[in-house]
Symmetry: C2
Subunit: 220 residues, 2 copies
């Protein structure tokens, strides 16, 4: 990812970092992945505000000065940690929405993909959800783009709900906006309790969420 706009870093280090990021360099990429993983861990455990570049460096087994060779600021590390997940969820939702499936089938597939993004991207997804206000405050081009992806992702789900209500397959006495928030609520609240190495796997949880929201808990 390029530096976020507004970065004031224009030192020689900045040029060397950009050059290293551009060139194919396995060592650089590996070390950078390690620093990003350390940043994600730290943000998830103690929060963005309480994390220092020194903490991240220590977790990655390096020093603060070396971290600057991989990212210009804590904000850039945050963006790199969070980037890609909303884009993946949006692309999957748009692809699923276009298929010849019922609204209920589409919603279940989207729920499964969403929790699998969380599972595969752990703890990055946790960081994104916990620090969502940092994104939605939308002061950078990056955060504006992420907010736009989130808005479009929500719109796809709301539109599937509306289609199902219109074609009579879903009940129409519930507000599609409220139903959309209910679904994202249960999906995103997993940041509080779901762990990839825990008792549940993402697909099982998502399928149970689909049973709850589509069929309901009441026995028939």
């Amino acid at each position: 990812m390029a530096n976020p706009r507004g970065s004031k870093d224009s030192s020689g280090l900045d040029r060397r970092r950009k050059l290293a990021q551009t060139k194919e360099n396995a060592n650089y990429a590996e070390k950078r992945a390690q620093i990003l993983a350390s940043a994600a861990e730290a943000f998830a455990e103690v929060g963005y505000d309480a994390t220092t570049l020194n903490d991240i460096a220590a977790r990655a087994g390096t020093d603060r000065a070396s971290v600057y060779y991989y990212a210009s600021s804590k904000e850039e590390l945050f963006q790199q940690v969070c980037s890609g997940m909303l884009a993946s969820n949006l692309a999957a939702a748009e692809e699923i929405a276009a298929r010849e499936l019922s609204a209920a089938e589409k919603l279940e597939l989207i729920m499964v993909h969403h929790l699998q993004t969380h599972e595969k991207g752990y703890p990055q997804w946790t960081v994104l959800v916990r620090e969502l206000r940092r994104v939605t405050d939308a002061r950078t081009e990056w955060s504006r783009d992420e907010v736009e992806r989130m808005r479009r992702y929500e719109a796809v789900v709301r539109s599937i709900l509306q289609d199902g209500m219109d074609d009579g397959s879903l009940r129409s006495d519930v507000d599609p906006e409220v139903a959309m928030h209910a679904i994202f609520g249960m999906l995103n609240w997993t940041h509080r309790w779901f762990r990839p190495d825990g008792h549940y796997d993402a697909a099982t949880v998502a399928k149970e969420f689909a049973v709850i929201t589509l069929s309901g808990l009441t026995q028939r």
Copy 2:
């Protein structure tokens, strides 16, 4: 509320604050409520870490020194802002659980009470949910008590779900733990989108959540 344990403040100001909090004093109580409301607003808008006592004082139309007459620290203000809501939800859930009602009826009543706590306690409930990690890190007696209330509150809901599965009124092919997290997920995620002065009222949203989780979105 008493000072949190571990407070090192033992100045004359500390004694005067405790005295004022003990005595009936309408002016003191009013000013303290104003400072707490300002603290809740600031924590909700910019987050706990980024809020300073100066910010809170400015919002309350006073100065930092005066804030210390009402609370010994930012941490104490946070505790005062968040206190009472989990206790209210737990007490309501225990009272509802003891009634002669079906599991589904109990769950709906608990959802309505939960969102009404959010609505009445806005933006305090938002602060509690957004800064939940500050509570669950559980380094003070206050936070340990709050975590225990949260654990018991979740246990009441899980137990109602289990009872409904046992008596055959709720489907038993869903894990009650996952169903409990699904319900708290949609309830607590409202901190992202629900506003008391917005388009929806808490009872309407909670009843739609109950329809979604109990009857399901699929048209029958």
